[in-house]
Amino acid sequence: MHKEAAIREPLILGHKTYHDITEDVCKPIEDKAPKTWYILFGIALIIGLYGVGCILYLLGTGVGVWGLNKTIGWAWDITNFVWWVGIGHAGTLISAVLLLFRQKWRMAINRSAEAMTIFAVFMAGLFPLIHMGRLWLGYWVLPLPNHFGSLWVNFNSPLLWDVFAISTYLSVSFVFWYIGLIPDFATIRDRAKKPLSKKMYSILSFGWSGRAKHWNRFELISLVLAGLATPLVFSVHSIVSFDFATSVIPGWHTTIFPPYFVAGAVFSGFAMVQTLLLIMRKAMHLEAYIHTKHVEYMNIVIMVTGSIVGTAYITELFISWYSGVEYEAYAFINRATGPYWWAYAAMMTCNVVSPQLMWFKKLRRSLLFTFFISIVVNIGMWFERYVIIVTSLHRDYLPSSWSMHYPSHIDIGVYMGTIGLFFVFFLLFARFFPVLALNELKTILKSSGESYKNGDAGHHPTSAPVVEAKKEETPAVETTTTETASNTNDLLSIVGTVSSDKADDLKAITGVGPVLETALNEIGIYSYEQISKMTKREYDIMDEMTGKSAGKAEKDDWAGQAKELMNKSNNQ
């Protein structure tokens, strides 16, 4: 069985058994939906239907009902498209990239993050389709032989690349998501009591029975799909950025766009995941599975990608001046000081300043603050796309064509409508689908579950002692002593025991003072030889026991130093 360092925070809190995980995830599906669910669903549905109404009005009247004009041919539609696609990226990043990196914390959030991806990309896809004006001719983007002779779609155009990228992304994400869902649907099927839900879930679960061979294939297909989805997710937003970067509009025509768009996409996507999950964990009582540590991990991703985005903004500014291209320089001066300065200011504060607050541990572990920042980031990333698109277009090459963009109520209605529809889908998902990946969580229970890490759970996850352990609270002091004792044995079994009369002068190692030397001697570490055998894992155990110098041993490379000192004393 896979062992995990004792100092890592457990990923599953409390005394959970395999059965508890099933219960906790399936209960909300099997019970009656709470009143708040109906209220939220009703609100989302009304907004969504209003959006559908706006779309129908647009299709009946023409794209002229949007606030576009001759100069600004792209505005809210493409802003919303890029915004939604970007949000989608976090789901794939969590389920695919983090799977390749073997990050276990992803298992609590990947299911719902991926659902979010699919719904978000669905919303994104609506915009280019509506923008075509004649939706029913949308299939013309496919390379089909047609009645105009052999005229094909233009494979040199980034807009066509986008068609392929987005449709591949949507369908591959869906397949990846569904393959993971099949075993969990089987769990619900086998628990279902009502004939209708039994029937539904047995259709959805495709007759999954969990044979060893099936699990073997399941693990491989998850891995290969993750391997395929990882470059896919990077390619999709790169291609979205090509829509702009391959044009000759100042402010768009930059090579920095692909990496900058991908980082921005992950940034906004994680913010949306935070917004959704912070509500979901409370509403569905999943605090034991999605807790502060998960939120902190996600905040670190937000901080890193936010910093990349900030760097990209500043690089863009610098290059616009340094390139000496007047058009480019003007585009950026106009962004910051022109009539759209407020959008630029909103983008800069929301996307550059706010993620930097996550450097403070207190802030990134605060759920309320995280929720607030996640909303701020979502707003900021919407403004980023608005700034890129509208401010670059509104100053045409000819000053006589200069213009401003004012959204019509249809613009606003369609956008609000997609938010409504997104929540309609997400609420349906939360109501009828297993929101946590049951089968994956069960595989990490023994290595990352709190009760297993503390060692106060019985060997059997379902055996009676576990229940007893819940009642009898072991005194805190006792737990720590036993833990320290087991850690000491653990540590000494690797580095070896040495008696105190063979002690070396540990103070010779940079970073070890007299106090730390005494502390090390107390554990049983006396010689250079012992320290030279230490690796990251042993450092961590040692740091935890001495309670000092967290990370210092690794930074100063004690093991390397000890080896050198050993060589020196041997040569003498």
Binding site: W152, P158, F164, F206, W208, W215, H460
Partner: protein, 178 residues
Amino acid sequence: MADKVIYAMYDDDDVLKDGAKKLVSKGVKVADVFSPFPIHGIDPIIGVEQTRLGIFAFIYGLIGLTLATVGMRYFMIVDWPMNIGGKPSFSYMDNMLSFIPISFEFTVLCAAHGMAITYLIANRTLPGMKAKNPDPRTTDDRFVMELRTSDNHQFSVTELEDMLKGTGIVELEQKDIV
């Protein structure tokens, strides 16, 4: 010939794994294991071979890449060469750079979908199929080992059951299969 199937139920994955190891070392053949999640390390013990799905995915990917290349060459070079800003469009190589994104996307599309379809067919898990797990609890927190008498001629049913009882099982069930 009537075949007897013995289902031994465990409540822990590690206990099942140890039990399977013990049985296999005595020469018992384990027909299958049903579990709510993948038990790591069980496959070599009960003799389940590593799947070849990965090879299939690679082949599907190659097919996708070929289709994309052949298709784009036909559309853009052979059938209707487009004059875009006077840039050369006479050969595939001249235009190849702008074909890379779609070639990549189509490769991924074919590999992922081909593999998923193969996976579902190989597993016999398709919409409307009936589940074959012996107990509904095996998708929750129980682990079932399946032994078949036809695989284990050298042992009698009682012998097999006695051996199973020594491995920490929680339930035992016998079924006839015609």
